[in-house]
Each structure stands twice: as structure tokens, then as C-alpha cells.
Amino acid sequence: MNTDVKRIRGLEQSKIRRVSAAARQWQLVLLFVVTVVVLIYGVIYPNLSVVSASFQRAGSWTLANYKEILSQRVVIESILSSLGLSIGTVVLCALVGVPLAFLFERFTFPGRRLFAGVAALPLVLPPLVGTVAFIFLCGESGILAHGIQNLFGLQNPPWRLSGWPALLLFHTYTMYPFFYVLTGAGLRRIDASLAEAARSLGGSRAFVFLRVLAPQLTPSLIAAALLTFMTSMASFSAPLLFGGNVRVLTLEIFQARQRGDMTMAITETVILAVISLAALTIFQRYEGTRKFAAATMKGAPRRRVTIASGKARALAATAAVVFAIVLVLPVATLILVSFAREGSWTTQTLPSAYTLANFQRIFSDPFAAEVFFNSFSMSVIAAVAALAWSFCVVTLLLKRARGNATFLGNSGRRLLSLLILIPWALPGTVVAVSVAEAYGQPSWLLGSFVLVGTFWILPVIYFLRFMPLVVRALQASMEQVDPSLAEAAGSLGARAWRRFVRVTLPLVWPGAVAGTLLAFVIALGEYVASVLVFVPANRPISIAIASELRDFNLGAAAAYGVVLIVIISVSMLIAGKLERLR
């Protein structure tokens, strides 16, 4: 009797196990289908259609578009300008960011924390807002130029913010943090005992730097160079507003579309995409050729060296304060201008009269309310969709521990990661143009529905551009969860859904929400892609800023920027808190 009961229980259990394994397989198939459909609609089809369109003319396959475009001097110049600007930006950012990282990571002195606190500020500014702030500060009728003009009684502004120097200066300001942050992280990761071992073996400081520190730092430097290069390649706001005679590819594409020359826009888009992906491939080839030692704390605690000499201390402290001021100044200027009364800032150094009218206007104006509503709703839609979809993707991407068969093989997972990375690696201009090309007319994927011209085009583009951030954040969180936790829950009888809701989700939500918030705030200030395809029904904040600027409503443009910065700061604070919860 007793053995019978046991046998029946055993049978039941094995049945349950078989059922849940089959159910699990079905769930994975479902997730896989969702993932693949999104990738086909969002990544594969748009990119293929823009490439195929660039090789077609009047319905037949041809290289004519490329021949025609590459024979134009303007186009060649814009390719060279984009490349030159990006390489120049990488060099300048490295020259600024790497020494700063060494100074602030290896030494301690008064003012160090002050600078470290604001070092990454330019990274969180939306590019358009940063550009506007920069114009108010450094433009020919900005605070600095007016100040010098008034101080020395000059007739004309001392400089014009335009062309190569202006672009390189602005790019260095906004992108040096890539080098600063990554070099700093690289330095922290290097095991201090490696340098000590090298010195005890007789290596001089220079020898140790060249043979031990530099090779260990190389991956960080390559990653920083890649990010800087790609961001610079995609840069649009600054070339648009003060590029002067420097015509970069993003700008050329925008202007070709404005002129209605779609063939040219599409072909240039493909060229820009090819350059970006080539850069990605070249840089990634270097990645992984170097090996790191993870920092082990014992034996060689890395301490920041206190600068002892009085003069050097004073110098370092001064540098920290000066750099901190330089970093904060554009934002401070933006805030100042947002309170300036309309017309009170013509030739004076600083605006002469202050008011809350700009903020009152953008909070009471129905047009402004509509713009805020648009940006908010589109960013929320994009971010939430990205979060939901990330759960599908990450479930497929995760390596499963011990025997538990993976649904996708290694190469499948690599391909999936690559496809997800593409919209992030491509400039916003490329994403916008390819989606517009794919869904600008009835297509076999959407039938008679034409996405272009509707509200939905921007949420879709925001989703595509920023979902890789959410996937990354979620994947990082998921990988930190010990798989044996879910196994333990399973051994206690929890089915897949319960395991997910009661075990995995409580552990990963802070990281997932932090990543979603990041995607949300970036979408909120998005300009590059929006300007190409927005319609009256979905005008976002950035378009409002640009149009206020065009109408010389400087105060209103600044006020929009300040509101964006406030929202971003709050979101980043929350995201930071959540990250620490992990």
C-alpha cells in the first residue's frame, strides 16, 4: 500500500516535470517569435529597404546613385569632414580626458571631489540643449564674447562661434567624459600589485607605465575612442547650429531630405551607416586581444596618493575648481538666460532684467503643453515597450547553467546581440531615414498602413534607438542573479511563472527600471531623428526648442532646456539610487 502511494506520487511528479518542460519550451518559442518579429520589422526590413533603395533607380538595379553622388565634391567633402571631425574629436577628447582621469583617479587634493562630482555632466545633457547652452555662453553674442567686447570696448565680437574650432571645442566639451570615465574605471580595475611587481623586478616608472599600465588600459581607451568616434559621427545639432562651412554627412542627409532629394538622402545614409559599422568592427577587433587581471584587494590596497608639495597641491586644486566651473558654466548660462526678460539681452554681458515669464509661457501655452505631452507619451511608450521586449530578448540571450538546454545556440545568441546592437551603433539619422524609407509607402509588412506621417513613427524610432540600453541593463542584472536561486525555487515546486515573479523579478527590477529611465530621458530630449520625420501631431520638445531659437525667443528656448535638464536630473538620481539597490 505504502509503496503504491510512493509509486503514484513518483508518476505524478514525473508527469508534472514533463508538462512543465514542454510548457517552458512553448514559452521560449513564443518569446522567440516576438523577438524575431520585432527585429524583422524594426531592424532587418528597414535597413534592407534603405540599402536596396540606394541600389535602385526607376525600378532596376544599378550603381548609378553611388556613381552620381560620389562624383559630387560636396558629398566627398562631407564624408571627409565627418571623418576628420570624428578623428579630431577622438584625439582631443583623449588628450583632455586621459590626463584628467590620471590626475583625479591617482591623486587626492582639495577640490578633487568637486570636479569628480560634475565630470560627467556633459554626458547627460541632450545634444540640442547642450548646443543651445554653448551658443549662449560662447557664441558671438554670448556672455563671454559680450563680456570681452564690453571690457575692451571692441566694435565687433572678438570671435565667431563657427566652423572647425567651434565644432571641435563643443565636441571635446560634450564627449571628453567617455575618456575620463572609462580611463578612470580602467585605472581602478588594474590590480595595483601588477605595477608593484613590475617595479620590484627593476622596471623604472616609465618602463612600468609602457609595459604594464598602458597594455592594461588599452581596452578602456579603445572603448572610449569607439564611443567618441560613433557619437561624433552621429553629431547633428552642433553642425546644424554652428557648423558654418563644415558640412558633415548627417547635415547633408537632413538637407537632401528637406530638398526632397530622397535618392541622395538614402544613398548618403547608407554611406554613413557603412562608415559607422566599419568603425565598430575595426574597434571591436582590438577588443578582447588583451587580458586583464581583476583587481584583488589583498596585498596591494590602491590608495590615491596625497599630493604633498604645497605648490603642486595648489595647482591641482586650482585646476579642479577651474575645470568644474568650465563644466558647469554652459548649464548655468542656460538657467540664467531662461530667466532673462525677452529683449533684455542685446549687447550687455549679462541679461539686464529677469522674469519668470518664460516659464509661465511654456507652462500656460497650449502649444507648449502639447509638446510636453507628445514627448512624454512617446518616450514612455518607447521605454515601456523596450522594457517589456527586453524580457523576451534577455531570456533568450541568457546562458543557462548546467545542462538546462539553451533555446538558441552560441551563434544564435551572438547574432541576436548583434541585431540588437545595430540601431544603437547607427547614427539617429540613419535609423530615422531607414524607417521612413521602409514604411513611407504601403509595404508587404504593414499592408496599406503607412507609418510615416502618423504619431507612431517617433515612438517606434525612439524604441529602436534606445531599446539596446534597456536590454543591456536588464541583461547585466539578470546575469548577476545566481541561477541556483531559480533552481532552488523549482525544487520547492515553483513553476516557471512563479519563479520569475517571486524570485527573478524582485532581484532584477532595480537594474531594469534604471535602464528604462535612462532610455526614457534620452528619448525625451531626442532631436536628430525627430527633426527628420516629425509631424504636427507628434512635435517633441526638441523641435519646440529649435523653433523658439529660430524665432529668437532665447528665453523660451532656454526655459525648455532647463525643464528638460530638471527632469533628466531627477530621473538620473532615481536611476542612480536604483542601481545601488541591485
Binding site: 600589485s193 620590484s200 623586478l201 604594464v212 587581471a293 596585498g299
Partner: protein, 358 residues
């Protein structure tokens, strides 16, 4: 003339005194141990010898020359780190050759010396291997090969075996000692493992709380700990709080234990070490405590009850309660002993030690 001499070295980290007024000498050819619990300052002391840390005060002499301010690369000491600190971007050959290349040793000579260093640590033919392809024990050998390839006058070891598992640790220990002796090197070896220090070192200094408590041969430290801290750290000890009685004579001390109120006699070399009527601590190793089931009339014999017998293979630990004084005895054959049995505990007078800082 000592090869290496530390003279009143001190080092503070902020408010913490990591090393306080340490002086020690290491003779040529000696295998010298720095032993102490974690956080006692032994690693900091070693790092100061290596030049990786500068003393706040005091001097370091090497062959009678002051090297206190000499940078590490000009000292020529080989060092083996606890985490090995092998360069992960270089292969085995490049790691071992690192110090030779820093010295601009000609290529042919470099490869000869690397090969012989790898042979010494029994890793011939491993030149082309990447570091992460090696096991922990092999990495450890590469670290040693790298340190001896520069033919150092002094080898420094910072707990080099602590990352190996037990059986490998004992095996490597023997090879290490053999290697150092064969090459005629002088070594300073930092460890918190008493057994390791005893097995390896000719002479040991025990550090506790940044201070150097006692130096001597392993046996001497074990048999005659001078301080309570040393006695506590080195192996198991019965620590007996007691008061010296005025009846004691100059060479034969008479003490009353605070627990149990027993009277104990012991040989006192220096009378002034035990002031009258102040609590002191007496120590005796469990293996020196003798138990007998019948009441012996020997000196220092106490009556007690057996409370616990813990079998541990070759020996057993017997815990005895002698009227409130708890004592441990190590017994090879606990035959005939039973829990709650009355017995006599004998503490031989020549094995009882009077400790400082009671």
C-alpha cells in the same frame, strides 16, 4: 654583520599604527619568517623592505647601506606576491623575462635565464603558455621563477601559498625551501600560518598589533613564548591566571591560581618578572599536561573531573575541570579515561611558563 637590518621602523595609515617601532636583523643565507595574525603589520613591514611603502620613521639598512629612500626598482629584491601579480597580457616567458628586459639583459642571455628559472620551478617548456591557461599552483611557480630570474640578493614572500589548496600547499612548501637553500638565497617570508612558518623558517619574528613581540628559532618560540600575545597566537596553550605568593623563593616561584585556588610551583629564571600580589598569567602546552587516574603525589598535582574527551585521530583532547580551573590535556591513548571520572592533573614545573604582560 646582518644582511638586512630594520631599525625602529614605524608606519601609520591615517590614525592606525600599522607598524610600530620594529627592529630586526636578517643574516645572509637565512630563511626568515614574519609571523602574525592578519592585520598585524607583517605585510606592511615586507612592503617597506621591498620599497613599495615608505616608513614614517626609522631606517632600513642593506649590507650596511641605508636604502630607506631607494625606489623598489633599484633594490634588486625579488618579490612573490600573495595574488602572484602575474601580468595577464604577457605569456609565461614574457612574465619571467620582465625583470631581465627591464635591466636590458641581452636577448640570448635572457632566454637562457628564463629557461633555467622555469626548470628550477619544474615548468620547463611552458614558455608560450598564457597565464590564464595555468593552474593556481603553476601560476605560483611562474611567480617564483619571475622573482628568481633576476638573481635577487634577497627574496621576499608575501603569503605566497595562501591561495593554494592544502595538499598543494604542503608540497610547494617543501620545494620552495629546497629551492631557496639550493640557490643560497636569503628570504623574508610573511605568513599567518604558524605551521608553515615553523616548517620553512630558520628564524621567526612574531608580530602582533604592529609590534614585534618575539624573535627566535621556531622551537624556542613554541616552547618559551615570552608574551601572552605570542602564547595565544602560537598553538594551543592553557593560560592560567595566578598571583605570586610572598612565600616564593628566588628560583622557585609559588603561585596561587585565581580559578580553583590551587598552589603551583615553577622555576623562575628572573625573579623580577613576577611582582608580588599582582595577577600574572602562566602557560602550559596541552601536550605537557599529564593525566593519571589514581591520585599522584607529584608536585603541581591537582584533583579534577574529566568533562569532555574529543577524539582527533592521533591524539585526543581531554578537558578537565579542576575545581573551577579548566585545563586541556593532549593524550595519545585515552584508554581508561571516562567522562565525569575523577583524576589527577599534573603540571610539570619545568613546563610552566610565566608570561609578560599578564
Amino acid at each position: 654583520m646582518p644582511l638586512l637590518s630594520l631599525q625602529n621602523i614605524s608606519r601609520n595609515f591615517g590614525a592606525t599604527r600599522a607598524v610600530a617601532d620594529v627592529s630586526l636583523d636578517v643574516a645572509q643565507g637565512e630563511f626568515f619568517g614574519l609571523l602574525g595574525p592578519s592585520g598585524c603589520g607583517k605585510t606592511t613591514t615586507l612592503r617597506m623592505i621591498a620599497g613599495l611603502e615608505k616608513p614614517d620613521s626609522g631606517a632600513i639598512l642593506f649590507q650596511d647601506k641605508d636604502i630607506t629612500d631607494l625606489p623598489p626598482e633599484r633594490r634588486g629584491f625579488g618579490m612573490v606576491f600573495q595574488n602572484y601579480a602575474l601580468f595577464p597580457h604577457l605569456n609565461v616567458f614574457e612574465n619571467v623575462a620582465f625583470g631581465l628586459r627591464a635591466r636590458h639583459v641581452p636577448k640570448a642571455e635572457t632566454s637562457d635565464r628564463v629557461r633555467s628559472a622555469l626548470e628550477l620551478v619544474q615548468l620547463p617548456g611552458y614558455e608560450k603558455r598564457a597565464i590564464d591557461e595555468l593552474s593556481g599552483g603553476q601560476q605560483q611557480r611562474v611567480a617564483i621563477a619571475r622573482a628568481i630570474a633576476i638573481e635577487p640578493v634577497l627574496l621576499l614572500f608575501d603569503e605566497p601559498l595562501s591561495n593554494l589548496d592544502v595538499s598543494l600547499r604542503e608540497e610547494t612548501r617543501g620545494e620552495l625551501r629546497e629551492l631557496v637553500t639550493r640557490l643560497g638565497l636569503t628570504a623574508v617570508y610573511v605568513t599567518h600560518d604558524q605551521e608553515e612558518a615553523f616548517a620553512l623558517c630558520d628564524r621567526i619574528s612574531v608580530m602582533v598589533g604592529g609590534r614585534l613581540m618575539q624573535s627566535g628559532a621556531p622551537r624556542e618560540l613554541y616552547e618559551e613564548p615570552s608574551d601572552l600575545a605570542v602564547a595565544r597566537f602560537l598553538g594551543r596553550n592553557n593560560l592560567i591566571r595566578a598571583m605570586r605568593l610572598s612565600a616564593s623563593k628566588t628560583t622557585d616561584g609559588e603561585f596561587r591560581t585565581l580559578d580553583g585556588g590551587h598552589t603551583l610551583h615553577l622555576t623562575v629564571a628572573r625573579d623580577e618578572l613576577a611582582p608580588l600580589n599582582k595577577p600574572v598569567v602562566l602557560a602550559i602546552r596541552p601536550e605537557h599536561v599529564r593525566l593519571s587516574s589514581n591520585h599522584a603525589d607529584a608536585p603541581n598535582s591537582l584533583r579534577g573531573t574529566i568533562r569532555e574527551i574529543v577524539f582527533a585521530g592521533a591524539t585526543s583532547t581531554v578537558r578537565v575541570d579542576a575545581n573551577g580551573l579548566l585545563l586541556e590535556a593532549l593524550v595519545v591513548q585515552p584508554d581508561g579515561l571516562q567522562i565525569n571520572q575523577q583524576c589527577a592533573v599534573v603540571l610539570p614545573a619545568d613546563k610552566l611558563r610565566l608570561l609578560n604582560h599578564g
